[in-house]
Structure formats: C-alpha cells, structure tokens
Symmetry: C2
Subunit: 617 residues, 2 copies
C-alpha cells in the first residue's frame, strides 16, 4: 500500500486571503472567547481539581474540552509563540494541577477522581478514554512546540495505567471505549515517541471493537457506538457520527502503519457510503439528533439536520488521513466542501459564537407551532442562533484546534510531484521546494501557484468538483496539462508560475432523486460555496419561493456581505390566497428578485428563516 | 338566533348506494370486530367489575370505549332491532353489572372503583366525567330504542352524584373535566328527560371552563385542555383536538338552548379558524401527536399528521351542531370533506381494522431510517397499517357509533324549505314530506331528488365546493334555480323529481402558499374524494414523482378498485442518478403513467408508500 506525504502546517505559512482571515479570527477572537466561557463554566477548574473548594461540579467531558483548547493553543504557538505567552503560563499552571492530582497509579480524570473515585474504568459511558485521548493529543502538541515534557510525562504515566487496566491486568470493566478518540491519539503518541507500546494499545482498542457484542448492546442497539462490526469488516457509516468518524480516523492511522489492504478497502467503503448517500451538500453529516447518528442513505432532512460542527472537523480529519493512504481527488473534494460550508457555518462572523448543529433549513414557524404542547415535550429543532458555550461544549474548542492546524489540508507530495489539494493562499515548504499559492478562490475561482526553487518534476493540482474547465496560463500563455484521476498534472522546471482559472460561476445543483427532502428542489452554489436564502433578505416562509435553474445565468454578484458575494437572481413567490385549498388554476406565482448569501454566513443578522434547497420553478 | 331543524336518522332510511354499503359494513363487520377485541382486551370485563376475579386491570377510558359501542348498537337497533337481539342481551347483562356495582352514592366508574377507590373525583386527568359522558349518551340512546329504563336510571343516579360532588357540595378536587364530553352528553340528557338540572350541570361545566387558571396549568401550558379561555371568548381552536371539538360541540348545544349571539360568534370564529388554516385537505385535524393537538394556522405536516379518526367524527358532530344554529353551506362542505376522506380512511375496506391517525404521506424509508437509535427513542411516526384494537382504542367504537347514526347528516328543514346537505341515497321523512335521494355522487357527481307528497314550497340543495356548475333537469328538461349562500333553491310543487349534475371531474387542488408542507405540490381530487398515490401502484419513494395540473384533463377513470375509480394520469419520475449531488442540467425526468386511488382506501394492499400532495411538474 502506497503512502502520500502530507505537508504539515509546520511547513506551511498562511498568506493574506480568505483562510488567513479565518485563522486569525480563531486565534484572536474565538480562542479567547472559548477560554473565557470555559473559565466561567468551571471547565478549567475541573482540571485544577478544585471541585471540593468551589463546589462547581465537573462533567465527564470537561477534560476533553480543555484538552482541545490546549491543543489549539499549542498549534498557534508553533506559528507565533510570543502571542501565546500568557496562555502558555496558563496552561503550565493547569499542567501543574494535573500532575499534582494524578494518582500514584497514573490515573487522571477530573470528574471520576473528584465525583466518583470508585468508578475508575467501571462505566463505558463515562468518556474516560475519550478524555484521555484528547489530553494525549494536547500533550503531544504542547511537548512538541514547547520542549517542556511535564504534560507528556503525565500522559505517558496515564497511558501506563490504561495499559495495565485494559491490557495486561484487565481490571477495567469494559474493553473498548464508549466514545472513540483515544485510538487516533495513541497512534499520534506512538509516532511522536516511537514507543511501540502505544501502537499496541491503539491496535488493541481498534481491533477489539465490534467483537464483544453481548457487552455493548445499547438499549437493544449495537450500531450507536460502532459495536456492530469489527474494523476489518466496516462497510457503512453507522451510529453516533462523531464517534464513528474518530474511529474511522484511528483505523486509517492504523492502516497507514500496517498497510493492510483489507483495512483500506473497509475504509474506502465507509468513506464512499458517506459521500454517496449520507452527506449534506454542505459536507455536514449526521441526519438525526437522536443519538446524533448516521441514518440510512438518502435520508437528509434539512430542518432537523444534525450536521454537528464536530462532525465537520472529524470528517476532514478522516478524509485527510485517507488521502495519505489512498490517492484520490475525492478526499480533497470532500475537505473543500466541508471547509467552505459546514465547517465555516459553525462559527459566527464575529468569531465568538458557535453552532453545535448546522441545519440546512430554518422555518421559524416550526419553532412556535406546538402552542398546546408543554415546553419539555415540544418537537426538538436545532437552535437558530449561535451560542458562545453549550452544556456539552465539544464543538467550540474543536473549532479552535481545527483552525489552528488549518494548513495541514493544503498539499501532499509523492516522489517528484507536489499535489495541491486545497487552494489556500500560503507558502508551502515541501520536500520538493517552496511553492507559493496566491488565490481569491472563493470569489474568482482562480489561484496562482509558483515556485522558484522547485526540485520536483511535476505539479498536480486538484480539479474541483464544481469546475467544468480549467484554463491554465503562464505569463498569459496557455499551459498544457494532463488530467488524471481528478488532478491536472503540469510538467515543471526549477521555477514556474501558473495561473489557474477554474471557471467559477453561480450554478444550481440538484440532489439524488432518492433524497426525499430535496425532491423538486435545487441549491445555488458558487464554486465551493453553497448559498442559501434568508428571511431577512427574502421575507419569511421561504418555501413560498421558487427559482428556475436558468436564472443562475443572469445571477448578479454583489460584494456586499462582509467582503463576500451575495447573489441575486430572478425567482418567484407564490401569491397569497385567503383560501386554505383552491383549484390549481387560482394558484399564481409572481416574479421576485431573490438574494442568496453564502450558507456559512447564515444566522448572522438575527433570527431568520433560512433555506438551502429552494423549490425549482 | 334562528334554528334549523335537523332531520334525524330516525326519520331517514338509507337506500342502496355508497353509504349504505358502509353503514352495513359497520353493522355487520366493524361492530362485531370491535366487540370481539373489546372482549379479548377485558374492556367489557371492566364494566362487569370483575377485575379482582380475573386480574385484568381496567384502564381509565375503558368505560367510555364500551359506552360508545353500546351507543352504536342502540342506533342500529332503531333501524333493525332484531339483528341486535344478542347484543341487546349482552348489553342488558352489562347494565345489570353496572347497576350492581354502582355505589350507593351513585358513583360509577369501573377503574376508579376497582383500582383506586380513594381517588373519586380527585384527579382531573382520570377521565371520570369523560366516561360518564359517554355512558350518558349510551344510556339515552338505549333507553330511547328499548324503552328499558335501567341504564338511564343508573346514569341519572350517577348524575345526582356528580351534581353533589361538583355543584352543590363541591367535594370534587377539580371543577371542569380534563377531557370534555360530559357537557354535550348532559345537554342530550336534558333534551331527552326535560330535566333542567342536567342543563344546569352542562352549563356549569361549560361556563367554568377557562376560568380557573391556577388549577389547570398543564406542565406550564393552559392550552392543552382548553383552559386558556372561557367559552364566551373562544377564538381559535387550541389544544387536544378531540377534547376541543367535544367542547365546541357542547358549547354549540348550549348556544342552541340559550340563543346567545356571543356564543355563536365565538363558535363561528373557532370553526373558521379550523377550516381556514388548521385542517388537512382530507378534513382531518390535529397536526401533532404531541398532546394530540391543534397547532398554528398553516402548520399541516403530512407524514406526521395526527388527524385522529375521533377528530373526524368530533368535527362532524361540531359542524352538524353548528348547522342547526347557523345557516351556512360551509358546515355541509366540511361534513362532506370529512366523510369522504379522513372519516372513511379510518376503516379498512374489510371493515375490521382501524387507523387512529390518518397521515397524508407514508414514506416507508422514514420508518427504518434511524438504524442506530434505540427503538424507544426513534422518531414517532403514524402506523402504516390499520389495527383491530389499540391500547387506547377510542376510535374504533367511535367509528361504530358514527356510522350507526350516519343518516343524521343528510337533511334539514326550515319553514317551507327542505335542505339537502349531503347526497346520500335515502328516503328522508321530513315534516315537509318524504323526499327520496338516489345518487352515485362519488362516482358520477349526480343525484336525483324526488318527492310525491311534498307540502313545502322550496327545495334547497347544497352546492358542493368542488362543483363549478350545477345542471338541474326534470324529465330531461332544464330546471331553473336560484343560488343563495351556497345552496341552489328550487320552487317545488306537491310532487317533483329533480336530476342534479354537479359536473364531477378529476382536478388538482393547491394549498395556501403558507402551508410549508404542501409548497409546490398539488392534490388530485375527484368531486368530494381526495386521491393519493400508493407505492404498490407507482413504486417506492413517491417524492420522485411529479405531475402537471393539466394532466387532470386527460385523466382516465377505471372502476377497478372495490367498485371505486382509480384515476390514471400522465406524470413524471425523476431519473435515477448515481451521484448524490449533480448539476441541475443532469437532472432528468421521465414520463410515467401514474395511478391514483381514493385516499380513504390507502393501506389496504399491504405496507406501502403513500402520498396525497404530489410535486407539481
């Protein structure tokens, strides 16, 4: 099995552009916003182990919340350690608390130790190994950037404890964790330390999964926590979608280590199952809030879409790992789709507030419909405005750490070829030389890629799914390229400068006819960006609106929305009628100019109806 | 306030035709099916008061289930006592049990007496007065047809007990019942016995409603049980829809007695609120299963429609009462709509099984979507096949008693005019003479109305909502008529024979653009009958199908479905595509011949997708 070298963010410098803005928003605003909310909600206190003193009860996932935030800070430190000096001190002090609180046997979990010390590794649902996984990831990142080993030492000691409890002494009451995450963390730790033991531990948790049915039936159901099958027989994406994607990411890491073709085949089957039937057009996944899970192919309700922000991140993590072991443009396509849509929608334009769920429709009338139903029993619908913190606030720090490692997704290399997967303005310091990407991709569909010191022979650029034709030039002259497996290959010399024009335009997309929720509907896209209608621009009850696919040809782009294009097109609105039912002949639709905005920017101007899939006129 | 004389079923003989078939199906099959299931499920045993002997625990609504069945038998006895001799004995024996079990103070409730005798009138949610109401209705009907007074005596003794507990001594722990029904029952008892006390009791329960807020907050909500407003200020239909419609029926009865214009105005406001925004095209009401309630105008989801069978009946009961105090064709329109659609759909074609909910869409894929969700937490959707009995089996005996009193809806008289509201083959023995109706209305849109001994001066026939033009003839010659307020008025002599042709045809109907669930969709109707697509005829995933409104012009009617028309039209089906999302230009719809069947007949050929509102091509 062949592997492809990912150019990590360590070797990438973001340059001015769409994504640097978001990187900086995360660094300068979101990170601090999450920190403040976590302080207010006693999440840091949890790891200060001062519950007895302040009485603010920690929750089973608090350690993981803090860990993700630390990991985010560590990644930012890699690029700009000075800006994080205060956070570094803050983290050092948390690490001291953790080290002090760690039990002699190495065990470390703020909730179990402070709330229910008799429950160590007794309850599979207690998120202990999930928290451990995130702490390990944070420790590796922090160790790497600071050279200070205390955190990693603590975590290695904890890993020894875990090893004894689950592998050598088997004192734990369960075999695999209820919420996956430690698997990919242990493989990361293995790669960082070189210690084979961590690889063994990861393999243990991965290979035991789906093999102990009787223990892991969740209310009559083995799918919820991916206990339905072992990793070598994975075929479909099932169960809690974040857990599933963390599992698949861990399996992909294992596959990268072992090169087992059976695992690769299982993983591609799962990946294809998602992108061919279980993914929203925004790249979001998870079609039901009930156990936050994958459902069946083509089941993609828009108003009750779960599409958790953590899923957007986890799906990118999975795709990125797949790209390293399976050369295919589909992974880059997916990452682009998620990044510009379900990932970006997770954060408001100010950077302070976040969505947990990212629905594709908001019909405010639905929120007030059940007037005679007690609050506690009303239909559950996604919230309509982003919040700064949640009771279960897994997404905000996950968003922090994703943006902090954003540069990971851009480039790969293989032999004499540098692959550009994502068009993000940056300098990529690859083994084949330094390449510069200058782009305004989401606005003009173009990118310039150049190098002065290239030692490779070819440059391959991913052809976006939405692009009908690539026009490549150099100094204004057409350049030839060969299209192979979704990439355009260019022969290069030591220095080159290529102008790529992917022919961006507004166009409407249809969904598979089996998708009931999207039947007879179309979605406006502009390159990688999915657009939506909002009530604030188009009036309430957006399902009265219809649009012809042809209208895209006359779409007008206006850069009026935070430097982004809004798109106006001709559409229609059904004329009001006083009757509840009437002959179709009395049904009238009137012309209406429609204003679309990027989906990711919805819900930034107060509560409003929103609709991605608009009725086709 | 003027009143209109309803020709009761006592004075109507059904004749061979569509509705007699259904009347006989109820009499010969449904009644027995319900009886058998009720025996099996210990419902009759409840009223035999032998829980201690057989250990089969009665439920709070068992008395009402049995009462409705007895009432049905009594109505059938009015027409054919001989056929019910066995049931009469059966009922007499039940009455003996009730008389024996009745407490000295008159109290009678099989559940409270046997399960929790300390709870008499302690808990508003225990359905005691609801059960009493249905028993009173049954007792009146049984007394009237048999002349045997034991049952009525028992109930009058119980009424004395209720009077003391709620009015004179006020020992009850609540003021008005949680589930309305006793109000209209007491008014029926008042009319039957002439005893003013029952009128006072009814008025007490009606006029105290909505006046005791603090007591009647249901989980933070006063709407659920119509405790939000008093009856003189009713404006909108709210809360549990069956309870609401029973309440409105009781209020209409009160209004008929008092002639209070404020009540009439409140009632018309409520009626209009329903038919203008809260009613499915089938006449079904109740848009959410959560507290089985009305929601807000235009909120009419199809796949999760509650549209309880009891609501269909209760809505007819309400409309019929309104028609007696408010001359308006809309009440007849509503009754027709309900009868041919949401009422008929409640029963399968064999007469044995019943729907509790009557959805307007079944998408089987939705039922299996949440594979990773434990059974207990899956999304709740209506059942897809009728059942012979339910845990809460209020609908089947309600259906029994409605069909048994079916003839009530046909005609009214006022002064010198006989009004024909419903076209049902029958002989109507009105104060103005005997009129015969011969029709095949649902198949040909025609009816013949004749009389040989008419002493009135005019005949008025309701012009159906769906009819664009009435052609009236006598002996093949055109007859003149005057159209006024939705009725066609004919001058008559002592004998007449009118042929009415309402111009039935297949045509598509649209819904108000505010109805989100029906946006861009149309429903096929044929006269009073709403049609639907079923998967068994058209393949699964019916939302792939679209149809042009024009196609109705070329619709082909085939009498191939239990003597009913199926309607075939030209339509389209979206062509399958392997991609999940693709440019609209790749979207292809192919011609497909569509087969529609009457909505009420859906789910008679096994589990199948079903769709009323089809995408407009």
């Amino acid at each position: 099995m062949k592997k492809y070298e990912n150019i990590s963010f360590c070797d990438v410098d973001l340059k001015d552009g769409f994504w640097l803005k978001r990187y900086l928003l995360n660094k300068n605003v979101s990170l601090e916003s999450v920190k403040n909310r976590f302080e207010e909600t006693a999440r840091f206190d949890a790891l200060r182990f001062n519950y007895l003193k302040n009485g603010r009860k920690p929750h089973f996932f608090y350690d993981s919340d803090v860990a993700k935030w630390i990991e985010a800070v560590a990644y930012i430190m890699e690029k700009d350690r000075d800006s994080m000096r205060e956070n570094e001190k803050f983290i050092d002090s948390l690490i001291d608390c953790m080290a002090n609180a760690q039990r002699d046997d190495g065990y470390l979990n703020s909730t179990v130790q402070q709330i229910c010390p008799d429950k160590i590794f007794k309850d599979r649902g207690n998120h202990e190994l999930y928290c451990a996984g995130h702490l390990i990831e944070a420790a590796v990142a922090y160790d790497k950037v600071t050279g200070k080993h205390k955190f990693l030492d603590v975590m290695e000691k904890y890993c020894d404890c875990i090893y004894r409890a689950f592998i050598s002494e088997k004192t734990a009451d369960f075999i695999t964790p209820g919420h996956e995450e430690i698997e990919l963390a242990l493989l990361k730790l293995y790669r960082y330390t070189g210690k084979k033991k961590y690889f063994e531990m990861a393999r243990f948790f991965l290979e035991n999964r789906g093999k102990h049915d009787e223990q892991y039936v969740y209310d009559g159901n083995r799918y919820g926590t991916q206990d339905d099958t072992d990793i070598y027989h994975l075929k479909e994406a099932v169960g809690h979608s974040v857990r599933a994607l963390y599992l698949y990411s861990g399996v992909a890491d294992l596959c990268a280590e072992t090169g087992d073709p059976k695992l690769l085949s299982a993983l591609t089957s799962v990946f294809d199952d998602i992108v061919n039937g279980k993914m929203y057009i925004t790249g979001g996944v998870g079609s039901t809030f009930r156990t936050e899970s994958f459902t069946v192919p083509y089941d993609l309700p828009n108003n009750t879409a779960y599409s958790e922000s953590c899923c957007a991140i986890a799906f990118i993590l999975f795709a990125l790992r797949m790209r390293k072991i399976d050369f295919n443009a589909k992974y880059g396509h997916l990452i682009e789709r998620v990044m510009y849509n379900s990932l970006l929608s997770s954060t408001d334009l100010s950077g302070k507030a976040f969505f947990y769920e990212n629905p594709l429709e908001i019909a405010l009338e639905e929120y007030g419909r059940e007037i005679a139903v007690p609050e506690s029993r009303k239909e559950r619908l996604p919230i309509t405005q982003r919040l700064e913190v949640f009771g279960c606030s897994c997404c905000p720090p996950n968003i922090n750490r994703f943006f902090a490692e954003l540069g990971d997704v851009i480039a790969f290399s293989d032999g004499d070829t540098l692959f550009i997967d994502q068009y993000v303005s940056s300098a990529v310091n690859s083994p084949l030389g330094r390449a510069e990407i200058v782009e305004n991709y989401a606005l003009d569909g173009k990118a310039q890629i150049s190098s002065q010191n290239y030692v490779g022979k070819k440059l391959a650029v991913r052809l976006p799914e939405w692009s009908e034709k690539l026009v490549a030039t150099s100094d204004g002259k057409p350049v030839k390229f060969e299209v192979k497996e979704g990439y355009a290959y260019f022969e290069t010399g030591k220095s080159f400068s290529l102008q790529l024009d992917f022919g961006i335009k507004a166009s409407f997309v249809a969904a598979n006819p089996k998708v009931r929720a999207d039947a007879g509907r179309i979605a406006l896209t502009y390159g990688p960006v999915v657009y939506c209608l909002e009530g604030v621009d188009n009036g309430a009850r957006l399902n009265r609106i219809s649009v012809s696919a042809d209208s895209a040809a006359n779409a007008e782009l206006v850069k009026d929305f935070h430097g982004l294009y809004s798109i106006t097109t001709d559409g229609f609105i059904d004329k009001d009628n006083s009757a509840l039912y009437f002959p179709v002949s009395e049904s009238v639709k009137e012309p209406k100019r429609l204003k679309f905005i990027p989906y990711f920017a919805f819900a930034n101007r107060g509560e409003s109806d929103m609709l991605v899939w608009v009725r086709k006129a």
